[in-house]
Amino acid sequence: MTAMPRADRRSRAPYLFVAPAVLLFLAFLAIPICYAIYLSVRGLRLTGGGVFGTREEVFVGLDNYVRTLTDPEFFAGFGRLALYGLISVPLTLGLALLFALLLDHAGTRAKRFSRTAIFIPYAVPGVTASLLWGFMYLPSTSPFSYLTQELGLGEIPFLGPGGIYPSLANIAVWGSVGFNMIIIFTSLRGIPAELYHAARIDGASEWQIAWRIKIPLVAPALVLTGLFALIGTLQVYGEPTTLKPMTTEISQSWVPLMNIYRNAFTRDDLPLASAASVLLAAGTLLISVVLLKVTQKRAFGGMQ
């Protein structure tokens, strides 16, 4: 008789433990997602009443999805993202790995200072960073353009047609290398020292140790940072929005999220924006899953 309630309590305990997480998930993820999906099949249409009529929310089916999928500008946004990502993702990961390996190298001096110095840009809020770089890009305030002009080479077209992608990618790289470096560095510190000793006994050079031992063993961290960088790229919004007033190169729909923001708040079409958001989210999930699947075996195969 006394054993029953205890067993009962035990079977209830897991649910109690998981409840806070489930509640938060429902409140801040599931319900908003469902609401976004609901909104995406609605539309603001004119009904009678008032001087000019009034726009009211009605069911419009898949109209918003059709409009999004037939909007060339939405896809052009992805094209620009791809170009931007091609510059920023490899650079971010490459530099982060390089710095992490350098910091991990036994002979490196001033490690603590370097680590902090590389990490600090990550602590600068994105908008502040964009404004800061924006001033360094604008012809009449740019110290770089000042130098080239003094040398008679003319100003550097940071915000011109060719310069805008590297200029934007630079802001992202500058801001995120530190964070990614810390992840990779932490992973490097977790590698048992015996492996290095064994390698050295076998006659491996520092370069070979880095290439043959360290990099393969931090591959999971590289995949993780790569995934973050990819998702971060799909969500690029702050930097181009902040630089937009400074250049005609960046339109209001330059990247997909800017397009969504414009439709939602400038053009007052929240349903259309919701449909685009749902598509963007589904696409992000798809890419994430594919990326994980492709890299999983390679990266995690030996670790499990």
Binding site: F25, F28, L29, A30, P32, I33, Y35, A36, L39, L44, R45, L46, T47, G50, V51, F52, G53, T54, R55, E56, G134, F135, L138, P139, S140, T141, P161, L227, I231, L234, Q235, P245, M246, T247, T248, S251, Q252, S253, L257, I260, A264, F265, T266, R267, D268, A273, S274, A276, S277, V278, L280, A281, A282, T284, L285, S288, V289, L292, F300, Q304
Partner: protein
């Protein structure tokens, strides 16, 4: 491991959706308490430098109504936030909006008809100005400030270069060429891709009418013959490098302005206040002249910008909010504060008072400032109507013109593109639109 990781990516997906779909979190106004507990509390959104002092003066004069003022950003931001707050049911009681934004707000069902309260102030405004906020007998706001268009120019630099403010747009082109010759680093003015209201004003001056409505049937004229000609005019100036195509009021632009490399700005009477904010050092150097005309001898100009104080549909204290809107725009204390900040009041008494006051700081040395201003204000084009989707038009215009300037394609095509998008948007929403 697998499941955990998949869960992680679902969570990431969730964040994407939430980030993309949710509003960026407009802090809503608190619910207005009902009147029986002490003074009526009103929430009020408005931008502009004179608002804080005007609201304080109102609160002092009205112990029974206390207004809490929040600056949520300019017209674009206010309009976007007002729509969101309106749907969320926590809109403020009163808000400032530019005249061109009013129809879209009316169509969104965000504004209250306050014609029952405005009978006593109608005559305080000229009919052209009153027309800006009244539609078929319904009144959706009290006019606050108006922006008759004028040419604002750096008189000191003009004198240095020995040039005179042009009377016609043909002269304007000649002066622009003159400036380039005399100072190769300087431009007479710039052409900004985001200045929808400015271009609309210039086209209206030439005779264009971008929207007309009769019995709920609309005619859109954004790409009409006249507008195309105005676009061609600016195209010519840009192509010959007589005018620089560049966004306005950016750090870059402000820097050029402060260096005396941008000499003039065809804009409106609120411009001296704006320029003073970015080029304080040039106070006294500037002056205003009548806006150049398309035909010699004409003197008609359009309004650019200017705002009205509106009452929202969801306000529980519409009567008090209407009283507030009226006081803010007709009381002497209020318009004196406006004038002090360089705004041009919408009310006749306010305009009279402005004429008797010293000119704004930027143009402090111009003796006939108010003569020029009053003449412009008296000769504004009547019956300008704006469309029900001006915000869409603005954003379409900005993108099309930016692209045209970037890719060096004709500006007139950008107008056509804007026009088509505006008409398509109106049709999607369900408006009856005639013509192309």
């Amino acid at each position: 491991m697998r499941i955990t990781r998949l869960g992680g990516s679902i969570a990431v997906l969730g964040m994407t959706a939430v980030l993309a779909a949710c509003s960026s979190g407009t802090p809503g106004s608190t619910d207005t308490p009902t009147a029986n507990t002490g003074p009526v509390a009103l929430e009020f959104w408005c931008w502009g430098t004179s608002q804080k002092a005007k609201v304080e003066a109102f609160n002092k004069a009205h112990p029974n109504v206390q207004v809490n003022h929040t600056d949520v950003g300019g017209d674009r931001d206010t309009a976007a936030k007002l729509l969101t707050a309106n749907r969320a049911g926590n809109a403020p009681d009163a808000a400032c909006l530019e005249y061109e934004t009013l129809p879209s707000m009316i169509v969104a069902g965000a504004l209250a008809d306050i014609s029952a309260h405005t009978g006593d102030v109608k005559d305080a405004f000229s009919p052209e100005v009153w027309d800006l906020t009244s539609f078929d007998g319904a009144v959706y706001g009290v006019p606050q400030d108006v922006g008759p268009m004028v040419l604002v120019y750096n008189k000191k630099r003009f004198q240095e270069l020995k040039i005179e403010p042009p009377a016609t747009w043909q002269d304007f082109a000649k002066v622009a060429a003159d400036v380039r010759k005399k100072d190769p680093e300087a431009y007479l003015t710039t052409f900004a891709p985001a200045e929808f209201g400015n271009f609309a004003g210039l086209a209206q001056q030439a005779g264009a009418s971008w929207w007309q409505v009769q019995d709920q049937t609309w005619t859109v004229g954004i790409a009409d013959q006249t507008s195309h000609e105005v676009a061609d005019y600016w195209q010519g100036l840009i192509d010959k490098d007589l005018v620089k195509a560049q966004p306005l009021l950016t750090p870059e632009w402000n820097n050029q302005l402060n260096k005396g490399k941008i000499l003039a700005w065809p804009s409106a009477l609120w411009a001296p206040g704006v320029l003073y904010g970015v080029a304080e050092k040039q106070a006294g150097d500037w002056a205003i002249a009548p806006l150049p005309q398309w035909k010699e001898g004409d003197d008609r100009v359009a309004f650019q910008g200017g705002s009205a104080l509106t009452v929202t549909k969801t306000s529980k204290n519409a009567a008090a909010a209407a009283t507030f809107a009226k006081w803010m725009n007709t009381d002497k204390a209020a318009y004196d504060l406006q004038i002090e900040m360089g705004e041009y009041p919408a009310s006749l008494a306010g305009q009279q008072a402005a004429g008797d006051s010293p000119p704004p700081k930027l143009t402090a040395n111009q003796k006939d400032y108010w003569d020029v201003a009053t003449k412009a204000a008296q000769r504004t084009i009547p019956h300008i109507s704006w469309g029900p989707n001006v915000s869409t038009a603005k954003s379409a215009y900005e993108d099309a013109v930016s692209a045209a300037l970037r890719d060096r394609t004709p500006l007139r095509d950008a107008l056509t593109k804007t026009h088509n998008l505006v008409v398509e948007d109106m049709k999607t929403t369900g408006f009856k639109v005639t013509g192309p």
